[in-house]
């Protein structure tokens, strides 16, 4: 019987029905999220007069900006994900070569590198006077005069998002049951058939989440588009929001623009989810592709080898440039500065707070999405997961300013600045967690729901014994990513007070603002090394922690 019908028969109101179907944990998480985003937008909307809004919102320039934003975000997403699919497959097929673990960790680094550092690294390698141009020019190959513009934007977005997509797609292969591979071998499937029949169905489970995260990241990309875009022809809506909040101080306009951005992203992401519907999960006992099936051919090995080398080289070169610049800077002077280490400590504190909050929200949302989906409320389940990833479409600056205005009457804004920054950071990293934990939990639910019902297993026991073994690897990656993202993010610290909030990224900006580019290079190196360390430690701790 449909639970809704059953519920009505029992005389339950819709809210208690929701709590029953979604779990109170999920309902609380969902409400908190809506209150945070909705509340901040509402505060901004009521904070400024709306008389001139209509003329500003009818500006044709604004629509050109929207058009460009959609165009560059779509292209960046397409290139990143299309390249990520074969690369992730190559990583899945070559599961034993030396250095594989290191390369996979390398893939976690670009997205956590502070934007300005990454951009300076990218420019050092691929820019007009970059390393590559310098070596390619003598043989007649050069893109001098063509880097700034769409080329630069796409290059940088692929640099950030290709590695992220690879890491987010890779678990799909790990979830393909071994039986499916064996069946494919018995039926004598070709490589193309295997991709369509065996791999694609698994991929579709993670593809919508990955595509939407990457799309949202590129859609809301701000500094990258401004630095590499070459001029006001290439701007995003986010720039207009920043301008409205900063220079013009029109919070109402900023909130409307943010709502518009949220609306456009929502429509595009929902359309994508409709288009890529996840097929039923195939059940099996073992995972992993058995080597003995004879799928591996020499040409395939060459293809994988070349692809992995090219992609890793593309990602590693700008990072190597950043590291090289750092090693050539005044290492001793910067490293012996006590302020650097206390800034690192503050970054770690904010990162811990933000990750804990985001993880609680993400677990609430994903567990309740699973509960909804096992009760055949598929749409509600998708809606909950969607809500968890849409925070990427709301600029941190908007949430930060809204929270600030909200707390202003209480006179608390100075005392809880750290908590505010952590909350804004949590909304920033929530989507990564939801989109990585979500598919794993859904998968475990689809496989073991009946078994759990039979055994009468639920709650903590089920989470520990059934979900955890399937969850810990993707969760380890997601938590590590979230922690490092928050660690390296400039965030909205500058909105409150950078004197009391001296985190590592803030310190980096201080150095850049004071001409200290050499010192900043060392700070960037420290930041990257610490990010890598945090990443490795968290991923190991969480990912290998057996219950």
């Amino acid at each position: 019987m449909d639970p809704r019908v059953a519920g009505r028969a029992l005389g339950l109101n819709p809210f208690s029905l929701l709590v029953r179907d979604a779990g109170w944990f999920g309902v609380v998480a969902f409400m908190l999220l809506i209150a945070l985003v909705g509340g901040t937008l509402l505060v901004l909307l009521t904070a400024s007069p709306t008389a001139v809004l209509s003329t500003q919102l009818a500006d044709p320039y604004l629509y050109r900006v929207v058009g460009f934003t959609v165009w560059q975000a779509s292209l960046s997403t397409l290139i990143s994900v299309l390249l990520a699919i074969p690369t992730a497959r190559a990583f899945a097929r070559r599961d034993q070569f030396p250095g594989r673990g290191a390369l996979l960790r390398l893939m976690g680094l670009p997205v956590v590198t502070p934007v300005i550092v990454a951009v300076l690294g990218i420019v050092a390698v691929y820019g007009e006077s970059g390393l590559l141009n310098r070596y390619l020019e003598p043989i007649g190959l050069s893109w001098r005069g063509h880097f700034y513009g769409l080329t630069g934007i796409l290059l940088a977005h692929v640099f950030f998002n290709l590695p992220l997509s690879i890491r987010m797609l890779l678990p799909a292969w790990e979830r393909i049951p071994g039986e499916n591979w064996r069946l494919a071998a018995q039926l004598g499937m070709t490589a193309g058939q295997r991709f369509r029949q065996v791999e694609w169905p698994a991929l579709v489970g993670v593809l919508p989440g990955t595509v939407s995260v990457v799309f949202l990241l590129c859609f809301t990309s701000f500094s990258v588009v401004l630095i590499l875009g070459g001029g006001p022809r290439a701007t995003t809506i986010e720039v207009a929001i920043y301008q409205a909040l900063r220079f013009d101080f029109e919070p109402g306009l900023a909130a409307w623009l943010a709502l518009g951005q949220l609306g456009i992203c929502l429509i595009l992401v929902v359309a994508l989810h409709r288009w890529l519907r996840a097929p039923p999960v195939s059940r099996g006992l073992k995972t992993g592709q058995p080597r003995a099936l004879g799928f591996d051919s020499v040409s395939q090995r060459w293809f994988d080898g070349i692809l992995l080398t090219a992609v890793c080289g593309f990602v590693a070169l700008p990072l190597a440039a950043v590291i090289w610049l750092g090693l050539n800077g005044p290492l001793v002077r910067v490293l012996s500065n006590a302020a650097l280490w206390s800034a690192a400590g503050r970054s770690a504190l904010i990162s811990t707070l933000a990750t804990t909050l985001a993880l609680a929200l993400a677990l609430g949302l994903t567990l309740s999405a699973r509960r909804l989906s096992t009760r055949h409320r598929q749409r509600a389940a998708e809606g909950v997961l969607l809500a968890g990833s849409m925070t990427l479409a709301v600029p941190p600056m908007v949430i930060g300013s809204g929270l600030f205005l909200l707390l202003l009457p209480l006179g608390l804004t100075f005392d809880i600045a750290t908590a505010l920054v952590a909350i804004v950071n949590a909304t920033l990293i929530l989507p990564y967690l939801v989109r990585t934990i979500g598919p794993a939990l859904m998968n475990s639910g689809a496989r073991y729901q009946r078994l759990c019902l039979q055994l009468g297993m639920s709650g903590w026991q089920r989470f520990r014994l059934i979900d955890w073994p399937l969850l810990r690897k993707p969760l380890g990656f997601a938590v590590a990513l979230a922690a490092t993202l928050s660690f390296g993010d400039m965030g909205v610290a500058a909105l409150f007070d950078t004197t009391g909030m001296l985190t590592l990224p803030v310190m980096l900006y201080h150095q850049l603002g004071a001409y200290r580019f050499n010192e900043a290079a060392v700070t960037a190196l420290v930041l990257i090394v610490l990010c890598a360390l945090v990443f490795i430690v968290v991923e190991r701790l969480v990912g290998r922690w057996r219950s």
Binding site: Y61, F414, L512
Partner: protein, 334 residues
């Protein structure tokens, strides 16, 4: 459970010491990031001022001058700021319009700026001129005027900042407007092919320039002094333009509803004393507002000295800013 008591005890001590500090009156000054950073004037000024005032100076660092203004507008009468320090002349018109600021009451005859100053609300503490900084290793004959820069189709590529997000960017926009008047739109169109890129802030632009992406970057006439003083190199120079250079005058003002009026007055007066003014050149890399007190450091010798100082009246900027930014947008996005 022992740790709980420890925690409570330490919090107690922390609260007690905080209230002990609170016995001294505190003066809160909102300013920008690079002022409060370890390399800026903030730390030295705090020490010097606290030695004379018997108070506690609390500097709050916000992103930049524009962030300072928007923070003031956001907080309105609830603002905890007693003084705001770091607006420039392209923002003062709008800041005055908030009605939140009070007259400074400081004697202005001690000022030695490139222009006459008579504003009763905003008190200057340093100033500088915008200029294109070039790499003399790679560019031997830089343009000698803004007209030459705009009209020479084969001229060097430049990096500028976005006037919608940065104060130097806005400064260059006003500079163009001063020199080209009603023909500014045409001038922007001519210049467009040589604008390599337009960045969000000064740091991004200068970083790209140091990576040799372009031959010139919009910065200040004083930038070469930094490279001389710290990097010991003469490689980076500012190009002198015959039409004159647009000025940036950095000012502070007292918040009208502040309960610490006399302390705020004390701070504004302190701003023009040698103790404050003498550290400005090598920490903020700007010219002090009162030059009579001491000679400038050697690194400031033979910097570009503008033939004329260009500056719009603050009220003109407040009225025209949006229209001129629009003109810039249209000219550059065709």
């Amino acid at each position: 459970m022992k740790w709980v008591y420890h925690l409570l005890a330490t919090t107690g001590i922390a609260l007690a010491s905080a209230s002990a500090l609170a016995d001294k009156p505190a003066l809160t000054v909102y300013t920008y990031d690079s002022f409060v950073s370890d390399w800026g004037p903030g730390p030295i000024i705090t020490k010097a001022f606290e030695a004379t005032c018997g108070c506690q100076l609390k500097l709050v660092g916000l992103e930049d001058g524009a962030a300072l203004l928007s923070r003031l507008k956001m907080e309105g009468k609830r603002s905890r700021a007693d003084v705001i320090l770091g607006l420039d002349t392209s923002l003062t018109g709008e800041a005055a319009a908030t009605g939140l600021l009070a007259p400074h009451g400081v004697e202005l005859s001690q000022l030695d700026l490139a222009i006459n100053w008579s504003d009763k609300v905003f008190l200057p503490y340093d100033y500088g001129h915008f200029a294109f900084v070039y790499d003399s290793d790679r560019l031997t004959a830089p343009p000698t005027s803004l007209h030459a820069l705009v009209n020479d189709a084969g001229g060097p590529k430049i990096i500028i900042q976005d006037p919608r997000t940065s104060t130097p960017g806005l400064g260059f926009l006003l500079w163009m407007r001063q020199v080209f008047g009603n023909d500014t739109s045409e001038a922007w169109k001519k210049l467009a092919p040589r604008i390599l890129t337009v960045t969000k802030g000064w740091s991004e632009a200068y970083g790209l320039f140091l990576e040799e992406e372009a031959l010139m970057v919009l910065s200040y006439t004083t930038s070469p002094a930094y490279h001389r003083h710290v990097d010991k190199t003469e490689r980076y120079r500012a190009a002198a333009f015959s039409e004159g250079h647009y000025a940036q005058i950095e000012v502070a003002a007292k918040v009208a509803h502040s309960p610490n009026q006399s302390l705020a007055d004390h701070f504004l007066a302190f701003m023009l004393t040698p103790e404050f003014q003498n550290i400005i050149p090598t920490t903020n890399w700007m010219y002090p507002a009162t030059r009579s007190h001491s000679a400038l450091p050697a690194a400031f010798n033979d910097l570009v000295s503008p033939k004329a100082t260009l500056l719009f009246d603050a009220s003109v900027v407040a009225h025209q800013r949006k229209i001129w930014i629009r003109e810039w947008l249209d000219a550059l996005s065709d």
